[in-house]
Symmetry: D2
Amino acid sequence: MTGQPVAPQQCEITFRVRYAETDPMGVLHHSRYFVFFEMGRTELLRQAGFRYRDLEIRGVLFVVFKAACQYRQPAHYDDELRLVTRIDRVTRSRIDHSYELVRVEDGRLICTAQTTLACVGRDGQVIAIPEDVAPHLP
Amino acid sequence: MTGQPVAPQQCEITFRVRYAETDPMGVLHHSRYFVFFEMGRTELLRQAGFRYRDLEIRGVLFVVFKAACQYRQPAHYDDELRLVTRIDRVTRSRIDHSYELVRVEDGRLICTAQTTLACVGRDGQVIAIPEDVAPHLP
Amino acid sequence: MTGQPVAPQQCEITFRVRYAETDPMGVLHHSRYFVFFEMGRTELLRQAGFRYRDLEIRGVLFVVFKAACQYRQPAHYDDELRLVTRIDRVTRSRIDHSYELVRVEDGRLICTAQTTLACVGRDGQVIAIPEDVAPHLP
Amino acid sequence: MTGQPVAPQQCEITFRVRYAETDPMGVLHHSRYFVFFEMGRTELLRQAGFRYRDLEIRGVLFVVFKAACQYRQPAHYDDELRLVTRIDRVTRSRIDHSYELVRVEDGRLICTAQTTLACVGRDGQVIAIPEDVAPHLP
């Protein structure tokens, strides 16, 4: 019965597409989605009681090792979007997240995505996720 | 006579990492790579005699349908990078590209990546790649 | 009784600095501020009952003609910032805005800034601000 | 002996506008110009024999203190632009630059701009420009 999640396994954030994020087709540029995913990870970590900036000060960095995105529908300037960020898997030094981005107005799925982060020290070498952080990553 | 490539199957571009493209870890932000891949596709198309902006005026748009990147080494501000962009496969309405990004100074592989583009009209509906363009996409 | 503002003369938005917006010095890159100012203008217009995207569809575009920013204090990743956007002056075809950006946590002034927008048609030629919009710009 | 410039007083760089840098109006977003100005400063410093990244390692940082831009003509995706960066004035701890951005194809002036940088240490406090650097800043 133990093993209940001690931290939220997912979090939602909502935000509007900025003008500067859209391209001449009038749609959110495909590179910008990865910035949103990073915002999702920041909030998920904050819900677990950690601030990424504090981890960085301790010399605990998470670097993106792999990223993939499947684009379903274009998003436009000023669209309100909702991003769900989930932790799928945690190993000794890696975290897999997955993402679903939806337009609030019509509920349409904008994209799905997956990333793998590696935990590294200041020198860029892979290290174990610290013991006080790991339990909060379900 | 048969089967010679009528268009370059790959192209190389070199450029320097801009300060504004790097993050607090001092490295090229993972979202920026996708902007470079787009630059590579633009140049590959230019070598084949087309300008993407002219295609857009004709109502022929290429949208990113899938993208994936595997990050191997960090790149830093002011690093000179060389990007090789290749066309891997062309179907009626899609193009698969792959990418290799290398640091010029030490030849180290920074990342590999793959994208799938879909050809769409102004209304966003998938269309066949136009007949004058397709033969130039090997 | 005369002279009540028929539209909000200023608006406030709050947001967090994104990781991808900061540079190797760990601070918000100076180019990013202009994206925030644009967000402020969008919200100010929305409060007046207009959506910039709807104006664009009508062929009414606002382009930045002049911009200036005075940076006082650096802002860091994950800082919560509050931006106040004001309309300072409206002429036949131009709007002057001013901005104050403050860190929520300690109330410190991050920057002040000013922009002048020109109202243009689809062809880029300066036009008068439309009659239904102008009264809402105090 | 008298008055020869000991360092280039200006430098030119040319580059193409990237797709991701343009907005739904199809033009270079006004925030992006400041990234180009930074590229110009980096090259001007390189011509004087310094790499900004090396200065940063020494703890000598240049932060933007003021910036202003006057936009004359829009620039479009894939336009080849030429940026001239000049040093206008150097004081104990500040450098004033000015910029002219021109489209190569038709020679039209895209914008003029000015920035003031302050030299700061790692703690953000203003310091004198180091003695080995200052003489190379005319």
